[in-house]
Amino acid sequence: MKAGLLPKLLFSPSVLLVLICVYGYIGLTVFLSFTDSTMMPSFEVAGGAAYRRLMNLDNWWVSVRNLGIFASLYVLVAMSLGLALAILIDQRIRAETLLRSIFLYPMALSFIVTGTGWKWLLDPGVGLERSMHLLGWESFSFSWIKDSEMAIYCVVIAAVWQTSGFVMAMFLAGLRGVDTEQVNAAKVDGARTWQIYLKVIVPQLGAVFVSAFVILAHTAIKSYDLVIALTNGGPGRSTWLPSVFMYQYSFTRNEMAVGAASSVLMLAAIAVIVVPYVLSEMRKVKHG
């Protein structure tokens, strides 16, 4: 039915809110990144000064490097573990519902809760390391969280723990939608289970791989809460991510233009991943 005035009128507040608070604010932040804003927003245009400063800041490059390590490992491990869990669960096992619930429940928790739990678990003074010592394994050593070279891998561990159940659920939905005729044909041909997975089933999961990748990669770029709760960026600045950098420079170091510039780059990184995906999904809906 063609829309009269009422539907348009009732739809417009949402449209306005989104246009202002999302797209308008993105525009404002982009603008601020080209000003000389410090503690308060300033409207004095300063060209690309904030970006030049950003490029010369060690803290920024530490954050970017950390994000590179964190994002690549997180996406890779969460995806492999998620797929592995889904395949294991898909073997017509007993207590499937219970196991699925166990692998997925961390998704219901806040990253602050996850961070708090893992913070003390990974702490050599009270956590795993000491527990192993008390059990008699004196030489066991696990103090990554105190080591500025290794602490970022602790963030990976906690993040993987929290989200691989979600990836599992996505792959499981994909596995249950796989064409059974092809699988049966392969079985008749005498293919072994692992061959069927490798050659028949996994190649049909392309769409799930893409969705999982987009979700995990954009989550990695946005990650903030987990780092704050787990390491608070430390030791030193060794687990800073661009999200931490942005917050620090915008709100505590009084370099708002630099903070704004860093958030623009975060948005750009996410756009590169997400925009092609959303466009192709919408095209699929139209033609499908």
């Binding site: 949402s14 601020l32 942005m246 860093s262």
Partner: protein
């Protein structure tokens, strides 16, 4: 919850007893699954067990072992006397704050989502798809990109540092998800029902309240659970836009754990973390099916 360990060991044991000549592969499968399940349960097991120990026992004993001396003192402390920042308030006021934030924010964003979904699927107008696409993309943006202007806006509106301000922010950035959920649900709604109601003279609101909403229970549950979980667990907006009187629970918990000076009361931290986790965990245990549906609907966008 402390008996989680034995209960998840059951499937392997039962399988072994039922099929005595299980192939090796089957046994290995269960061993791997149970081992992984133990790893997944371990952090929350550690949280619960150690929240029920006196601090001395954590310092001298094993983090994995059950308490020798059971105590609820850490829970009481986390709830009502622990230091949050400089004040010995415990988490209770912030637990209440989170509910004062979550209930209206979930209700409003769900209602807006239902209305938008209805309008987007039952009426045709120019720009509808473009607007929907614009809303969809908001689901992905890193919120860092809106923090500075939003902080200024809340200041101008006199909502800085208030729960009302947080409600507004969470509603605005939740519309994308709620609209997506209801749009996809109503797009698959039988058109004859809507058409015959219209022939019977139902107006704009008649169709919504008499036909669509009464048949929307599943998607309402999915949306409410999704929004509840997201907003309850939200941290960045809370940390940026609230002050001591309006901290949501996540921010208060982080203060409790990270700003404590002097003796680190691990048992109190674990109790606090579990208090913060409890509402969403209960929702998950009671209605996991709908939680998963929300995740799936949110992940397969478009």
């Amino acid at each position: 919850m402390a008996d989680v360990h034995p209960s998840i060991a059951v499937p392997a044991g039962r399988a072994g007893a039922g099929h005595l000549r299980l192939p090796i592969g089957r046994i290995a499968l269960y061993i791997v699954l149970v081992a992984l399940a133990l790893v997944f349960v371990m952090p929350v097991y550690v949280m619960i067990v150690n929240s029920l120990k006196p601090l001395d026992e954590i310092r001298t004993g094993n983090l994995m072992s059950l308490p020798h001396e059971w105590t609820v003192a850490p829970w009481l402390s986390a709830w009502s006397t622990a230091q949050i920042g400089v004040q010995p308030t415990g988490l209770r006021p912030f637990f209440i704050n989170s509910f004062l934030l979550v209930i209206p924010a979930v209700a409003i964003s769900t209602l807006i989502g239902a209305l938008n979904g209805y309008i987007l699927t039952q009426f045709k107008f120019r720009g509808a798809n473009l607007m929907f696409g614009a809303m969809l993309l908001t689901v992905f943006i890193p919120f860092q990109i809106v923090l500075i202007p939003m902080a200024k806006t809340l200041g101008l509106l006199g909502l800085a540092g208030t729960i009302k301000g947080l409600i507004l922010v969470n509603v605005v950035y939740g519309i994308g998800f709620t609209t997506l959920f209801f749009r996809n649900y109503y797009a698959a709604f039988p058109g004859e029902l809507v058409r015959s109601a219209r022939m019977d003279g139902a107006g704009f609101f008649g169709v919504l309240t008499k036909i669509l909403l009464p048949n929307s229970a599943p998607i309402i549950v999915v949306t409410v659970i999704w929004q509840f979980t997201n907003i309850w667990n939200e941290f960045l907006f809370g940390a940026s836009f609230s002050d001591f009187s309006s901290y949501p629970l996540t921010v208060a918990l982080n203060n409790l754990v990270n700003s404590s000076t002097g003796v680190k009361e691990y048992n109190v931290h674990f109790a606090g973390a579990f208090i913060a986790a409890l509402p969403t965990l209960v929702v998950y245990l009671v209605s996991g099916k709908y939680f998963v549906r929300g995740l799936m609907a949110g992940s397969v966008k478009g």
